[in-house]
């Protein structure tokens, strides 16, 4: 048996025997990505609704910009947030560098364009007639927004889930802001990078399998949500 096949078998064993290190890193990844997506959606779903409901000069330019930023390289965001929270940065005194909190901020920034842009497009896909129906039944601005969001709940949730997937699978922010500190800021992606470079293939394959499975589940659910 060659090394890679053995690596795979050992990796599956690691997962099945619920190896504490595997579990710990997976849980931390989840927790950090979930926090990021929560913060990002609390800010961006309302912000997206505002942009959807208001017509102002430069609106379509703004939406274009947001869409361009969907695929912003994670290291760019990493660098930006690093400059923000490093010792000399404006938020340097908060001591966020190399902490999970710093990572959460970085990932929130990273997935902001995706969530914001997809929220706007989800809302835009709700027909104007439906919005008019709510208004004509006496809905005020806020109630109208709520109704439109409820109509677009599938695509909006899909946007949040995509954000979650991107946060979970990114490595730039996790590495530059988190610093891959064992037991503290080490997550799936940074652990894979490290274990691979140390030749510890079974561990990196195990973590890689978990990451791929999560991505698969996320994508399937996103697909379903679009039609919900």
């Amino acid at each position: 048996m060659d090394e890679i096949t053995r690596g795979f078998i050992r990796a599956i064993e690691l997962i099945l025997e619920l190896n504490p290190e595997v579990i710990e890193v997976t849980l931390r990844s989840f927790l950090i990505a979930l926090s990021s997506v929560t913060i990002a959606s609390l800010i961006n779903v309302p912000l997206g609704s505002l942009i959807y409901f208001h017509h102002f000069p430069g609106r379509s330019g703004l939406i274009n910009l947001i869409q361009t930023l969907y695929s912003i390289p994670t290291v760019t965001v990493g660098l930006f947030v690093f400059l923000l929270i490093s010792r000399e940065g404006p938020l340097g005194s908060c001591g966020l560098l190399y902490t999970p909190y710093g990572m959460i901020i970085g990932q929130s920034v990273l997935i902001t364009p995706v969530i914001l842009g997809l929220t706007i497009s989800a809302l835009s896909n709700v027909s104007d007639d439906l919005r008019d129906t709510a208004i004509s039944l006496g809905a005020d601005r806020f109630q109208t927004i709520r109704t439109v969001i409820a109509e677009a709940r599938g695509p909006v949730l899909a946007a949040l889930l995509l954000g979650f997937g991107r946060a979970l699978s990114e490595v730039g922010v996790a590495m530059m802001i988190g610093g891959n500190i064992r037991g503290y800021t080490r997550v799936l992606t940074t652990a894979i990078a490290l274990e691979t470079s140390m030749g510890n293939l079974e561990m990196s394959i195990a973590l890689g399998l978990i990451l791929i499975s999560i991505a698969l589940v996320v994508n399937t659910v996103v697909g379903r949500l679009q039609e919900w």
């Binding site: 027909s127 007639d129 439906l130 008019d132 129906t133 709510a134 208004i135 004509s136 039944l137 006496g138 809905a139 005020d140 601005r141 109630q143 109704t147 409820a150 109509e151």
Partner: protein
């Protein structure tokens, strides 16, 4: 009740309504008739304060709403059924309750009103059906129930029986008549001249975005405008056809 003063609506460089002056008097039923594309739907949307005219004023109970919250307050006293009503997500109950929930009525009151409105339109027992699975005619009736449930002071109906079979049309017409009897002000747009004659106290004919004639149904029949007479006569011919068809369905039942 609602007054349009020199209202014009322009969209994409096209004049859809031109210098419209119409007063909807309290308690009356006003029929708006006109050929397709004349601007009936746009007119009703202006009356509902959804469409903002490019020129002119819309007065509700003698005052022009100045800002969004005044518009909202006026709109909450208006019930409207659009030409192709959309159902909101959820059940029939959710749809009829929508206007009541956003007005923060009590659960019991909502229950009572939804039941009453559904039974008015002949849809008892439909509460739990998913609204978007209904047929076009059923949706039309849910939309009417939805508008009636809020007990509006004025009801705007955009071709409310266009999707319905003759039998259901008469049910709806009865309903409109009884709303009128209870003192509700009604504006009804329709292609169907005989229907306008049956229901309306006064008729406004619009063509190509202009009011070409208005008055009592009888008065209009004697109009000296060729355009108006031609339109009305075409309508009356269809009326004869309908009577005939109605007679047939009655005999065959």
């Amino acid at each position: 009740m609602i007054q349009l003063e020199d209202v014009s609506v322009e969209r994409n460089g096209r004049q859809i309504l031109k210098d419209i002056n119409i007063e909807v008097r309290t308690g009356e039923t006003l029929g708006i008739i006109g050929p397709t594309g004349a601007g009936k739907t746009t007119l009703l949307r202006v009356m509902d304060l959804i469409e903002v005219p490019s020129k002119g004023r819309v007065l509700f109970r003698g005052e022009a709403p100045k800002n969004e919250s005044e518009k909202l307050a006026a709109r909450r006293r208006i019930g409207v059924v659009f030409q192709r009503p959309l159902m909101l997500r959820g059940t029939v109950y959710d749809n009829v309750a929508y206007g009541l929930r956003i007005r923060r009525l009590s659960k019991d009151e909502i229950d009572k009103r939804v039941k009453a409105a559904l039974s008015d339109v002949g849809l008892e027992g439909y509460e739990r059906r998913p609204a978007r699975m209904l047929s076009g005619g059923e949706m039309q009736r849910v939309a009417l129930a939805r508008a009636l449930a809020i007990s509006p002071e004025i009801l705007l109906l955009d071709e409310p029986t266009a999707n319905l079979d003759p039998r259901t049309s008469y049910v709806i017409e009865d309903l409109i008549s009884s709303a009128k009897m209870r003192g509700m002000t009604v504006v009804i747009s329709t292609h169907d001249l005989p229907q306008a004659v049956r229901l309306a106290d006064r008729i406004v004919i619009i063509m190509d975005g202009r009011v070409v004639s208005s008055g009592s149904p009888d008065l209009l029949m004697g109009s000296d405008s060729d355009e108006v007479r031609e339109f009305l006569h075409a309508g009356m011919l269809r009326h004869l056809d309908r009577r005939f068809i109605h007679e047939l369905t009655r005999i065959s039942h």
